[in-house]
């Protein structure tokens, strides 16, 4: 019944893409932007329609059978349930706001049609990812968003550094994707199906809890999730991905695509529950990523990189939640994070454009009076990010995660979560202070041009700001019924203690940051430029040196191999017969010297040998 609405929701962005692609830049910038924004807006409306039609129970829509060979029968089919609708709403809703903002952000850039074509394609792929009823279709969306991410990071193609960043993003996530693909192969071999519902039914029947196969399958799927969601060790691409236009960072590298890993694990929860060790690993990786990224965020000067590391850190929270079996909490945080991180990125985008593409905190500052809307966005988004108690959406979701970790009895993860909350407070304060307060660092920030457009500039920021407050948390319906029960469900004991702890962590972070950055500013700078402090700064600035490590371990040996083999060494072996023929030729050419005497000599030699053989052979003369 809701099939038309759902189909429409992802066909509209596709139509937008096709229209823009086939127009090949012949449409004006304004028309292109209108098409791009409108298609996603209509998709959002279609999603809203679908939500109103949602009967409350999952519904499958099979469009056609994709491939049918023997048992291998993946379909182009959609599975619409609460989770999918939730994700669709976030993708199309937040996506629409970001598209709208992009119309302001991208004004005057070349290739608007290209930009919107890819953005729409991204929305389409992302929708397929969350709607696909089987893993192969999910994989289609999964790869599609990767490609769009690649294209949009490299949108400013003239700068080859952007191209490199895009390349890196695609390859690193592709490595994760290969793990996911292998997981698919294994799952199909063992379970004989790729349909997600079927898998969740058959896996517990066929696999023992904690069996090797289940562990390997879960590990492989986790590999895919790590790549997409930028978790350690496949996280190095995300900070570089900030080379793309800021709306892209907001949509792809904050709100939607990077959370696909969380979605995937939540979708395949039954599989991970069969592999408790791997599930724990998910939590540990999440905690580690969260802390690593939070420390790295402390030492960044580029506002977008701070936000990128904070994204990584927040996804770490989601993984942590997944790791303790609190799938609903993870999705809850995913949704609120999408709101406030999109808000933060868009506000950052507003700052960047207003200050003529200046995004270094050292060269910004003192903007709070000149860019009030962006400042407001940053304040609201930032407080949601640090989970300011009661009034922000982030508080509710993060509190839920920490509570589940505590209820699961995993104190290590809980402590990591609390430490992460402190660090979040510190870097957020540093970001806001560095950008909006203090002295302006350059002419660009002294005389910014604030955005004035009501629709394309103010509206998205305001709506997202509203969603980042407790209102956003209220809107989340809760998906408990879809997931296996979380550890903290129905338990209330200790929740108050945890809330005190969490609020304490937030307050501690904010207080520490305030003290450090307002009172002891000079001391801090001195420390950061000498001895241990400087080394620490450098390590954090380079995000613990993962890039250098991978460069040395993988990239350079690879380049060495490519350069070594460039001239096709194996092929040289096949040239051996030719070489032998050539050497023989050179030798024989020498004998054909055109001198009759030597011909005669050779002939006589031959005759002599024959006669000598005859003479020496017994009875030869006869």
């Amino acid at each position: 019944m809701m099939a038309p609405a759902v189909v429409l929701s992802f066909l509209l962005p596709l139509a937008g893409t096709l229209l823009l692609a086939l127009s090949a830049g012949r449409l004006g910038a304004r028309t292109s932007a209108t098409i791009g924004v409108a298609s996603v807006g209509l998709a959002a409306l279609a999603t809203a329609w679908a939500v109103t039609l949602y009967p409350g129970s999952p519904e499958n829509v099979t469009l056609w059978t994709w491939i049918a060979v023997g048992d291998f029968r993946p379909t182009i089919g959609l599975a619409v349930d609460g989770l999918a609708l939730m994700m669709m709403s976030v993708i199309t809703g937040v996506g629409f706001l970001i598209h709208l903002f992009a119309a302001w952000y991208m004004k005057g850039e070349a290739g608007i049609a290209r930009f919107y074509a890819w953005m729409n394609l991204f929305v389409f792929s992302m929708l397929l990812l969350v709607l696909g009823d089987n893993l192969l279709l999910l994989f289609l969306g999964w790869e599609g968003v990767g490609l769009c991410s690649y294209l949009l990071i490299g949108y400013y193609y003239h700068n080859s550094a952007n191209g490199q960043a895009a390349f890196k993003a695609f390859i690193v996530t592709r490595i994760g994707d290969v793990f996911l693909a292998l997981g698919l192969f294994l799952i199909f071999r063992e379970l004989g199906t790729l349909d997600i519902g079927e898998i969740l039914v058959r896996a517990p029947q066929l696999w023992q809890e904690g069996s090797t196969t289940a562990n390997i399958a879960a590990l492989l799927v986790l590999g895919g999730a790590l790549g997409k969601s930028a978790q350690v060790p496949l996280h190095t691409w995300l900070p570089d991905a900030m080379a793309g236009p800021t709306p892209v960072s907001a949509l792809i590298h904050a709100a939607t695509m990077v959370t696909a890993g969380v979605y995937l694990i939540a979708r395949l929860n039954g599989l991970f529950l069969l592999a408790p060790d791997v599930l724990l690993l998910v939590g540990v990786i999440g905690a580690v990523s969260m802390l690593l990224a939070a420390f790295a965020a402390l030492a960044q000067t580029d506002i977008k990189r701070v936000l990128a590391y904070s994204t990584m850190s927040q996804i770490g929270y989601m993984f942590l939640a997944l790791g303790v079996g609190a799938f609903d909490a993870a999705i809850f945080h995913l949704v609120t994070h999408a709101f406030f991180k999109a808000l933060l990125f868009l506000s950052a985008g507003a700052v960047i454009i207003s200050c003529h593409h200046e995004q270094d905190m050292a060269r910004l500052g003192g903007l709070w009076r000149r860019l009030p809307v962006a400042y407001g966005g940053f304040l609201v988004g930032g407080s949601a990010l640090v989970a300011l108690p009661l009034v922000t959406a982030g508080f509710y979701s993060k509190d839920e995660i920490l509570w589940q970790a505590m209820a699961a009895g995993n104190n290590g993860l809980l402590l990591a979560g609390l430490l992460g909350a402190v660090l979040t407070g510190i870097y957020t304060v540093r970001l806001i202070l560095g950008t909006f307060h203090g002295e302006a660092g350059s002419d660009h920030s002294r005389h910014p041009e604030p955005g004035t457009n009501l629709i394309t500039h103010h509206l998205p920021l305001v709506v997202l700001a509203i969603l980042s407050t407790f209102i956003g948390a209220w809107l989340y319906p809760g998906l408990d019924r879809l997931f296996p029960s979380a550890p903290g469900e129905g338990v209330e004991e200790g929740h108050t203690l945890l809330q005190v702890l969490a609020i304490g962590a937030v307050v501690a972070g904010l207080a520490l940051a305030g003290w450090l950055f307002m009172m002891r500013r000079e001391w801090l700078q001195r420390q950061a430029s000498h001895g241990t402090g400087r080394r620490l700064w450098s390590v954090w600035h380079h995000a613990w040196g993962f890039d250098g490590l991978f460069d040395r371990l993988l990239v350079r040996p690879w380049q060495l191999m490519v350069n070594l083999l460039r001239h096709d060494l194996v092929n040289l072996a096949m040239n051996l017969p030719a070489l032998i023929a050539r050497v023989l030729n050179a030798g024989l050419v020498r004998t054909q010297n055109g001198r009759m005497r030597s011909y005669a000599t050779v002939m006589v030699l031959g005759v002599t040998v024959i006669l000598a053989v005859l003479a020496l052979a017994p009875g030869g003369a006869a």
Binding site: R597, T601, V604, L605, V607, L611, A612, A615, A621, A622
Partner: protein
């Protein structure tokens, strides 16, 4: 008769050595004539007067006269330009040794043979030769006629002073 055979054989060998080692063309030609006449004497000693006569008339007479004509026509002098390093053993030792080895092999083969034939010196007259020639060997005679004709045509074509090939080359260059 035996004495005549060995004597003229020796003369033939010595004269041939003179041919191949000489430097003056005209001397060499004369040596060759001597050698041919000595072989003709060997024929007589073996009892083949017809062959001997032909040898003198055709070989020593006609063919060698051709050589002499050519030598005179080209006005060849004692020419050692082409055989400059002739005196050095490095240049003649190899071929000579090779020829010697060949000779050794031939002699060894002949010595192994068990044909104990002795040539009595009985006469084979021109008549019997002619009868054979125009009897069973008639085809060979015809063939040699054709061969001679071909040689005649070739020689008269190649030997022309203004060879058409040369003219064409020159024309092409112009």
């Amino acid at each position: 008769m035996e004495l005549a055979f060995y004597l003229s054989g020796l003369v033939a060998v010595l004269a041939t050595i003179g041919v191949i080692t000489g430097t003056s063309p005209i001397h060499a030609v004369v040596y060759l004539i001597v050698s041919l006449i000595a072989v003709a004497l060997v024929f007589f000693a073996l009892g083949a007067p017809f062959a001997g006569a032909l040898e003198i008339i055709v070989y020593a007479g006609a063919i060698m006269v051709l050589f002499v004509f050519v030598v005179m026509m080209l006005n060849l002098r004692s020419d050692t330009r082409g055989d400059q390093p002739w005196l050095h053993p490095r240049h003649w030792l190899g071929p000579s040794l090779l020829a010697l080895v060949l000779l050794g092999a031939l002699v060894a083969l002949l010595a192994q043979g068990s044909v104990d034939r002795v040539i009595e010196g009985e006469l084979l007259t021109a008549r019997s030769v002619a009868l054979t020639l125009f009897g069973p060997w008639l085809m060979v005679v015809e063939l040699s006629a054709i061969l001679l004709l071909a040689a005649l045509v070739t020689a008269s074509h190649v030997g022309r002073r203004n060879n058409p090939v040369q003219n064409r080359n020159r024309g092409g260059n112009q």
